[in-house]
C-alpha cells in the first residue's frame, strides 16, 4: 500500500519583530524568467517589455480548479476577459477548459474569435448594446442581467426575434465588507432581486438558469464569500420551492486576491492573503450544507481574474537615470511608469534587479518616465545600487495592466509569452507611430 499523498508545502511563521523594509530575498537578482535570460528578452523585444509565463498561468488555473473540485462535484471557471484579454492568454485558459466571462460587446466578439462556444460565454456588465444582446440570445450565451432597463430591453429583443434567452441576474448584498458594490445588479436585502426573479419567471421568452454575484475585488475575507453563497443559495432554494424553477448554477464571480502587497499594508501579501483553498472551503461548505439534494446541487461557476494571472506576469524595464531629490532622498527614473503599470496605484509591487548586485543597498524612490508628478512606481524601496541601463523586474503584474494601460507620452511595449518549453513568443507587438495615427483623420483645410 502506498502512502496517501498531499502536495509538499511550507508556511512561514511570523516570529519576532516584523520588518517592513524587506528581507534579503528582495535583493536576490532575477536573471531569468522561466529559464529565459532577462537580458536576451530585452535584446529581442526591447525595454520595457511585459513577460508572461504560460507555465505559471496553467499552474494557477489547475491549482484553483483542484481546490474547488476536490470539495465540490460540479465546478466551472470562466476567464474574466477584462483581467487580461490578449488572445494568446485567453486561449491558454480556454485550452485548460475555462469558459469566457465578458462585459462588453468587443470582449464578447473576442471570446467568439477565440473559439469559445456561445453557450460557454457569460455576458456580464451594465453596458450591453442591443446588437450584442441580440447576438448573445441567438448564441444561447448566459446573459447576466444588471438592471431593469436591460431586463425589459431583453424581453423586447426576444419577442422580436422570437427566441428564448438564457439569463441570470446579478445580485448584490451586504456581506459584511464595505462599501457594498450595490451599483451592480439587484439588491438582495430590499427584495429587489426576488422581484426581478419573479419578473423573469413570468416573462415568456426568458429562462432563468442561474444566479450571479461579484462582491468585490482583492477580497481579504473568506467569510464574505460564505455570506454571499448563503444568500445566493437562499434565492436558489426559493426559486425551486416557490417558483418551481430550480436554477442550474450559482456564479460566485471573482475577487480572490493575488499575493501582491496592497499599498499601506504592513505585512507582504504572500503572508497575509487567504489562499484559493480557503475561499473554496468557505464557498463549497456553505453550498453543500445548505440543504440541496445531492443530485440537485447547482453547478458552481467562478470568474476569477487576478488570482489566476497576476503572478504569471512580469514587467522588465530599465533604469534611465539616478537622481538625488531636494530633501536628500535618492530617486531612480525608469523607462516605465503608471502609463503601463496601472496597478502601481494599488500595490507596492515587488521589484528585483536583473543581475547579481553588490551587498550594499539603498532606499530610493522609483519614478516613471512621464512628465507628471503622480508617475511614481514605488514611493520607497530598498534596492541594490542601480545604474543607468541596468534592468529591473517587476513581479506579479499579469492582471489588469495589459488592459488598463494607457498610451500617454510613451507607446505601449511588446508583450511576450514564454511557453511550456521555455521558448518566448511575442503576443503583442510594441506600438508604432503608424499604429497610433491609424485612427486619426486630418480635415481637408488643415492639410
Amino acid at each position: 500500500m502506498k502512502q496517501k499523498y498531499e502536495r509538499p508545502t511550507i508556511r512561514k511563521m511570523n516570529t519576532g519583530l516584523m520588518n517592513k523594509f524587506g528581507t534579503r530575498t528582495d535583493f536576490d537578482p532575477v536573471e531569468t524568467i522561466d529559464g529565459v535570460q532577462v537580458k536576451s528578452l530585452v535584446a529581442e523585444y526591447g525595454s520595457p517589455v511585459f513577460v508572461l509565463s504560460e507555465k505559471q498561468i496553467r499552474r494557477n488555473y489547475q491549482a484553483a480548479v483542484r481546490s474547488f473540485k476536490t470539495r465540490y462535484p460540479k465546478v466551472q471557471f470562466a476567464w474574466s476577459y477584462k483581467t487580461n484579454y490578449l488572445n494568446a492568454v485567453c486561449r491558454v485558459f480556454h485550452q485548460e477548459g475555462s469558459w469566457a466571462e465578458v462585459v462588453s460587446g468587443f470582449e464578447y466578439h473576442k471570446a467568439l474569435g477565440n473559439g469559445v462556444a456561445g453557450n460557454q460565454i457569460i455576458f456580464n456588465g451594465p453596458d450591453k448594446k442591443e446588437a450584442d444582446l441580440t447576438l448573445a440570445v441567438e448564441n444561447h450565451s448566459l446573459i447576466h442581467i444588471d438592471h431593469y432597463d436591460e431586463l425589459y430591453l431583453l424581453i423586447d429583443i426576444c419577442k422580436r426575434i422570437n427566441k428564448t434567452a438564457k439569463v441570470a441576474i446579478r445580485v448584490n448584498f451586504d456581506t459584511g465588507v464595505y462599501p457594498i458594490w450595490d451599483r451592480f445588479g439587484f439588491n438582495y436585502e430590499n427584495g429587489q432581486a426576488w422581484a426581478a426573479i419573479n419578473k423573469i419567471i413570468t416573462a415568456e421568452n426568458l429562462e432563468l438558469v442561474g444566479l450571479h454575484c461579484h462582491i468585490g475585488t482583492f477580497m481579504l475575507s473568506t467569510a464574505a464569500y460564505s455570506v454571499a453563497a448563503t444568500k445566493l443559495c437562499d434565492l436558489a432554494m426559493r426559486c425551486k420551492m416557490e417558483l418551481q424553477n430550480p436554477v442550474q448554477y450559482l456564479d460566485l464571480g471573482g475577487g480572490f486576491p493575488s499575493t501582491n502587497t496592497l499599498k499601506g499594508a504592513y505585512l507582504p501579501g504572500v503572508d497575509t492573503v487567504p489562499s484559493v483553498e480557503d475561499f473554496a472551503e468557505a464557498i463549497t461548505n456553505t453550498i453543500l450544507n445548505f440543504g440541496f439534494a445531492a443530485d440537485e446541487l447547482p453547478l458552481l461557476i467562478l470568474e476569477s481574474g487576478r488570482v489566476l494571472i497576476d503572478d504569471a506576469g512580469y514587467l522588465v524595464g530599465s533604469v534611465l537615470a539616478n537622481k538625488r531629490l531636494s530633501d536628500g532622498r535618492r530617486a531612480t527614473i525608469l523607462d516605465f511608469g503608471i502609463n503601463i503599470l496601472f496597478t502601481s496605484n494599488w500595490y507596492d509591487h515587488k521589484i528585483s534587479v536583473a543581475k547579481e548586485a553588490g551587498q550594499y543597498t539603498e532606499e530610493t524612490v522609483l519614478f516613471g518616465p512621464l512628465c507628471m508628478n503622480i508617475d511614481v512606481v514605488r514611493e520607497s524601496i530598498t534596492l541594490p545600487l542601480l545604474e543607468r541601463g541596468d534592468q529591473v523586474v517587476v513581479h506579479k503584474v499579469g492582471a489588469y495592466n495589459m488592459t488598463q494601460w494607457m498610451q500617454f507620452i510613451n507607446m505601449r511595449p511588446a508583450v511576450v509569452l514564454i511557453d511550456m518549453q521555455g521558448k518566448s513568443h511575442q503576443i503583442r507587438k510594441p506600438e508604432t507611430l503608424a499604429y497610433l495615427e491609424m485612427m486619426e483623420e486630418i480635415p481637408e483645410y488643415l492639410k
Binding site: Q3, Y5, P8, T9, I10, R11, K12, T23, R24, V270
Partner: protein
C-alpha cells in the same frame, strides 16, 4: 536544487534559516523531501522515492515538485 547549507530542519517539519531568522513549518511530505535534499539526494533520486512511496501520478508530482521548489526559492532556502 540544493538546500542552503546552514538550514536547520527537524523531523516534525520545523525549518529554521539562521541567516535570516525566518522559520517555517512544513507538512510531512515536504519535511521528508527536505530530509532527502539535506542528505544530498539528487532530484531524480528524490522524485523516484516519492513516486514509489506515495499514491500520486508522476505528472501531478512533477507539477507539485516545481511548485515546492518555487516555495523554497521564495523562502530563500535554496542555494541558487
Amino acid at each position: 536544487m540544493k538546500l542552503k547549507a546552514n538550514i536547520a530542519t527537524s523531523e516534525n517539519g520545523f525549518i529554521f534559516n539562521p541567516a535570516t531568522g525566518d522559520s517555517f513549518t512544513s507538512n510531512a511530505i515536504a519535511a521528508e523531501i527536505l530530509g532527502y535534499m539535506k542528505s544530498g539526494g539528487s532530484e531524480e533520486e528524490i522524485k523516484k522515492k516519492i513516486l514509489e512511496n506515495y499514491d500520486v501520478e508522476p505528472n501531478q508530482f512533477e507539477r507539485d515538485w516545481d511548485d515546492y521548489m518555487l516555495q523554497l526559492k521564495e523562502a530563500n532556502l535554496l542555494d541558487l
